[in-house]
């Protein structure tokens, strides 16, 4: 589904991704871990199409299509979703209105009819239950004045509504209490299907107890330097990154 090879990206003068390779197949869950500043969010942003980053080499294929050629909105319509590490506040636009616009734009891109108000509300209700989010939150300005946890939960709500093929969760677990963590994980697990895939960026093995990954990767200095089964996460939790840094050096 997603095939990244030798990806290189810079911001300003600074090279951040230095030849990154990653293969994600439909139905899989991949966890990406790694020390602060390694380039995890950069990878997520490059995949979503943030224009601040310049891709200087390598390729990214998504379902066989050149992802790097597409505008962010086209990537979303093709089925990519990024849950932001730091969700952005959108003053004056409610989550409901925002999502309705997003969904209907995506449907338009796919040549589908827009959802009418009744269909949309029905879907909203269903997904609100799934991630246990309150109606009052959804009618407020998107993310404005939301608590850290509310922002993260709202990201998962949006994901549930948009039902992406590939979801990239950038530290969605940080700032969540245990209950919220479980809810978020459930939300992700409910979306798990043979046609979909998930990339989970996290610092904590704890999340992976709930969202059990098929693979764990270590991203360090802009490259995937180690990959392994879910047990690798336990090893990292226990030993930290020094041994990996030593291995790479």
């Amino acid at each position: 589904m997603l095939s990244i090879s030798n990806l290189q990206a810079v911001i300003g003068e600074k090279q951040i991704l230095r030849g990154l390779d990653l293969e994600v197949k439909a139905g899989e869950v991949h966890a990406i871990m790694g020390p602060n500043g390694a380039g995890k969010s950069t990878l997520a942003s490059v995949l979503a199409g943030r224009e601040d980053y310049e891709v200087t080499g390598g390729s990214v294929l998504f379902d066989g299509k050149d992802l790097l050629d597409m505008a962010p909105e086209e990537r979303a319509a093709e089925g990519i979703f990024l849950a932001f590490q730091y969700p952005v506040e959108i003053p004056g636009v409610s989550t409901t209105n925002f999502l309705k616009t997003a969904m209907n734009e995506i449907r338009k891109y796919r040549g589908e009819q827009p959802l009418d108000a009744v269909q949309f509300l029905k879907l909203m209700k269903e997904k609100m239950q799934l991630v246990n989010i309150d109606q009052s939150l959804l009618s407020r300005s998107l993310n404005e004045g939301f608590s850290g946890g509310e922002k993260k939960r709202n990201e998962i709500f949006q994901m549930a509504m948009l039902e992406p093929k590939l979801a990239i969760l950038d530290e969605t677990d940080s700032g969540l209490d245990i209950d919220a963590l479980r809810i978020v994980a459930e939300g992700v697990n409910k979306l798990r299907s043979p046609e979909r895939a998930t990339i989970v960026v996290t610092h904590y093995q704890r999340l992976l107890d709930y969202i059990v990954p098929d693979f764990v990767h270590v991203l360090y200095k802009g490259r995937i330097v180690k990959s392994g089964p879910k047990e690798l996460a336990y090893e990292l939790e226990e030993k930290g990154y020094d041994w990996i840094k030593a291995e790479v050096a």
Binding site: A48, G49, R50, E51, A71, P72, E73, R75, A76, A77, F81, L82, F84, P87, V88, E89, I90, P91, G92, V93, F98, L99, T101, A102, M103, E105, I106, Y109, S141, Q158, L162
Partner: protein, 441 residues
């Protein structure tokens, strides 16, 4: 014969002559106190002359291109009710009054509110019927000694509206004044003058809407005087959607007494050169004034909003929010003055002006001015001018919303703080339509 513009070499001279010729046509009316005020105003205009950019209040707004033009003053129009329909605001209900090139059009207007709720009449008719009654208020609030344009209007205004709301009346239907400049044949100038008197504990909603027809230049120099008796409440909306050949200079002068509430929203959608003065005197305890503004100059449009709040008595409150969206080579000016007089202890005064600049050639000049002579007051002011938030744009695009849509949605949301103040739904729908069209252009 109305003077035509070919006959004069100088606009000021044309205006002075127009006054004298008009005076000759008057009979007994020239003896009235009201006419004496007009003469004094004319003298003031003659002495002041048109302001130049050396004048502190006109630093960023140059009227040179206005006064170089020639206009037919108070010209007649052939506009028919059918032609007017293109300018109608859909679903609008209430008291709708039309003024074409400054003249009240009784046949096109509808007054629906009963007379025990409100008395609505044209200025021309009101002066004829009761010169002293009008004279008792005319020019009592809007000072013409310092302002050339107010002086000019005071001297030359022949028509407009007089609205009187008796004590305790709730005017259920809004009053919508539609000022149409018919510039299809030649350049036209008009000087509407409105007087709105709201009695004790009465409530009314008044909208002034401005449109231009045709491609010639138009010039509206309007003065509206508003007086709120104690406990009175008024919603006042000024909506401008004129052409790129339209000049608009307007002063709204509000006088408030004890515990009166005034809500203003000034929305400037289009116009070549727009100057709005909104002056409020809070001359009563617990008087409250709310001022909202939205302007969105693009192309070469220029929109200047000057506001003045004069806190003259203790315990008064004012709150002001102006928002601008500037594109292309559009220019904007916001000048917000707050006076707190020595007696006006426990004043609360808040002012904020926020702008989004979409093009490197657009400019916004902001100037908050606070003059505080009392010590126990709460005042704040802030202005921001920035670009559209890139982070927000990317966030929206990453959810599938195309860039242009995302931009429109953000700007539209930005404008909503002001638009949501307008409580007449058909007017809000109309504004939202024009704004969406302008943002997606």
């Amino acid at each position: 014969m109305t003077p035509t513009y070919e006959s004069y070499t100088d606009f000021k001279n044309q205006l002075l002559t127009a006054f004298r010729e008009g005076e000759e046509r008057l009979n007994g009316e020239s003896k009235t106190a009201l006419h004496q005020v007009r003469r004094q105003a004319l003298t003031a205009f003659d002495q002041l002359g048109f302001p130049t950019i050396r004048h502190e209040e006109w630093k960023y707004s140059n009227v040179n291109s206005l006064i170089k033009q020639r206009f037919t003053i108070d010209g007649t129009s052939t506009l028919t009710a059918d032609e007017l329909s293109s300018l109608e605001i859909p679903n609008l209900e209430g008291n709708v009054l039309y003024f074409v090139n400054g003249h009240y059009q009784a046949e096109m207007s509808h007054i629906v509110s009963p007379a025990d709720q409100v008395q609505i009449g044209s200025l021309a008719d009101s002066i004829k019927a009761d010169p002293d009654g009008v004279g008792a208020h005319f020019a009592r609030y809007a000072d013409y000694k310092d302002s050339a344009f107010t002086a000019l209007n005071t001297a030359l205004a022949t028509d407009g509206v007089v609205i009187r709301v008796p004590a305790n009346a709730q005017v259920e239907q809004p009053i919508i004044l539609r000022f149409i400049s018919d510039a299809r044949v030649n350049n036209v100038a008009s000087q509407p003058r409105n007087l709105i008197l709201v009695g004790k504990n009465a409530e009314v909603t008044v909208t002034e809407s401005f449109r231009t027809l045709g491609d010639n230049s138009s010039f509206v120099n309007i003065v509206t005087e508003i007086s709120l008796d104690r406990d009175a409440r008024m919603q006042y909306y000024k909506v401008q959607d004129e052409t790129n050949q339209a000049y608009h200079i307007g002063t709204t002068q509000v006088h408030q007494t004890d515990n009166s509430h005034f809500y203003a929203a000034t929305v400037t959608l289009n116009g070549n050169f727009v100057r709005n003065n909104l002056n409020i005197v809070l001359n009563g305890q617990y008087a409250e004034a709310f001022m909202y503004g939205l302007y969105m100059p693009n192309g070469r449009q220029h929109v200047d909003n000057h506001t003045l709040v004069d806190h003259a008595m203790p315990n008064s409150y004012s709150n002001e929010l102006y928002k601008g969206i500037l594109d292309d080579s559009g220019t904007g000016v916001f000048n917000g003055k707050i006076f707190v007089r020595p007696d006006a202890q426990k004043t609360n005064a808040y002012q904020s002006c926020k702008n989004v600049v979409l093009s490197p050639n657009a400019t916004m000049n902001t100037k908050p001015q606070l003059e505080i002579y009392a010590d126990d007051v709460k005042c704040s002011h802030g202005t921001t001018t920035g670009q559209l938030n890139d982070e927000a744009l990317f966030y929206m695009r990453s959810r599938g919303i195309p860039k242009d849509e995302a931009r429109t949605l953000l700007l539209y949301a930005f404008a909503q703080d002001v638009l949501s103040q307008i409580k007449i739904q058909p007017i809000r729908d109309y504004l939202e339509g024009v704004i969406t069209a302008k943002l997606t252009k």
